[in-house]
């Protein structure tokens, strides 16, 4: 076994979630044939990702978010974290954007938070809470 490229691309949680759900739907028929290890990791990863903002995202939403944030000159990993974590406060934003005090003004941080709140849906309320 040889590693050609250990990091060929980075994926957002949304992309992995969509892929795993697709795999689960395909394998639905042959449940007993799915090897144990694969079933475990698929189940656990879906279980984790379901509790994150990526559950409410679609390809269109992600595209819109990326378009609206181009002017901020964020790195790939920063954009990924914004998608995965959906920060709602300035403190959370500072965790995601490196050296945010130097690169972004206070207004820009507010603007970015507004874009995140507008383009990325929040987690839907649980049925019991309604």
């Amino acid at each position: 076994m040889d590693v050609v490229k250990e990091n060929a691309a980075m994926l957002s949680n949304f992309e992995v979630f969509a892929l795993l759900n697709e795999l689960r739907a395909e394998k639905g028929v042959d449940k007993h044939q799915q090897p144990n290890n694969q079933a475990t990791i698929t189940y656990e990863t879906i279980k984790y990702l379901e509790e994150t903002p990526c559950k409410e995202q679609t390809a269109e939403i992600v595209e819109q978010f990326l378009t609206r944030t181009t002017s901020f000159q964020l790195t790939k990993i920063e954009k990924l974290q914004l998608l995965n974590l959906r920060p709602t406060t300035a403190v959370e934003m500072q965790l995601v954007v490196e050296e945010s005090e130097e690169r972004l003004t206070e207004e820009q941080v507010s603007e970015l938070l507004r874009i995140v709140a507008e383009t990325l849906p929040a987690k839907a309320e649980g049925a019991m809470e309604q």
């Binding site: 590693v3 060929a8 980075m10 992995v16 892929l19 694969q38 656990e44 279980k47 965790l95």
Partner: protein, 189 residues
């Protein structure tokens, strides 16, 4: 926290799987071989992403299986150092905290990476952040099962080849609670 990794390997397909199309059999075997396993210096494999290139298959004397060299891409869990992730507190000990994200449980927060000052309570067997504010000091418990935000500070790959002794984990992450906004989500709401 997920990446795509491209690998090549020779995949063995046993005769009872010949009923499937070649690509389907290869996909099943690659998933069976790699899913939920750590590849040294690559990360924890989640599943196959796609088959990139399938070369000719060979059969060897005395062995009914086919052997096919394949180049393929896997979905791998490997957060970047410096990346922030949300997880749950799994256990507490004098050595620090162990965090979990369901599919991966080897995330360690050493005592030095906890917010300062923190102490370990022997009776409750929990770490406590002794938070000083204008209205006095507060004891913030780091209870088991609580959701927390952490930053990955280091990744450690240990080559667990058969000759090595012990049951060390092949892939361990070191994390920190020490910045503003890190630690229990409840602290920052």
């Amino acid at each position: 926290m997920f990446v795509l990794s491209e690998l090549t390997d020779t995949i063995q397909i046993e005769p009872h799987l010949f009923k499937f199309r070649l690509e389907e059999a290869l996909a099943r075997e690659i998933n069976r071989k790699f899913a939920n396993k750590v590849i040294h210096k690559v990360g924890l494999v989640i599943c196959l992403h796609q088959l990139n290139h399938v070369l000719d298959s060979f059969v060897f004397p005395g062995d009914g299986s086919s052997h096919t060299k394949v180049r393929f891409t896997l979905v791998v869990f490997r957060p970047m150092v410096g990346e922030c992730i949300i997880g749950k507190i799994k256990s507490c000990s004098p050595e620090g905290l162990v965090l979990s994200i369901s599919f991966f449980d080897d995330i360690h927060v050493p005592p030095q990476a906890l917010p300062h000052p923190s102490r370990f309570d022997e009776q409750e067997q929990l770490w406590i952040w002794q938070y000083e504010s204008d209205d006095g000091s507060h004891e913030l418990f780091m209870d088991l099962g609580e959701t927390a935000r952490f930053r990955v500070t280091r990744e450690v790959f240990i080559d667990t080849a058969p000759e090595e002794e012990g049951t060390a984990s092949p892939y361990v992450l070191e994390a920190s609670f020490a910045d503003q906004g890190l630690g229990l989500l409840a602290w920052w709401q």
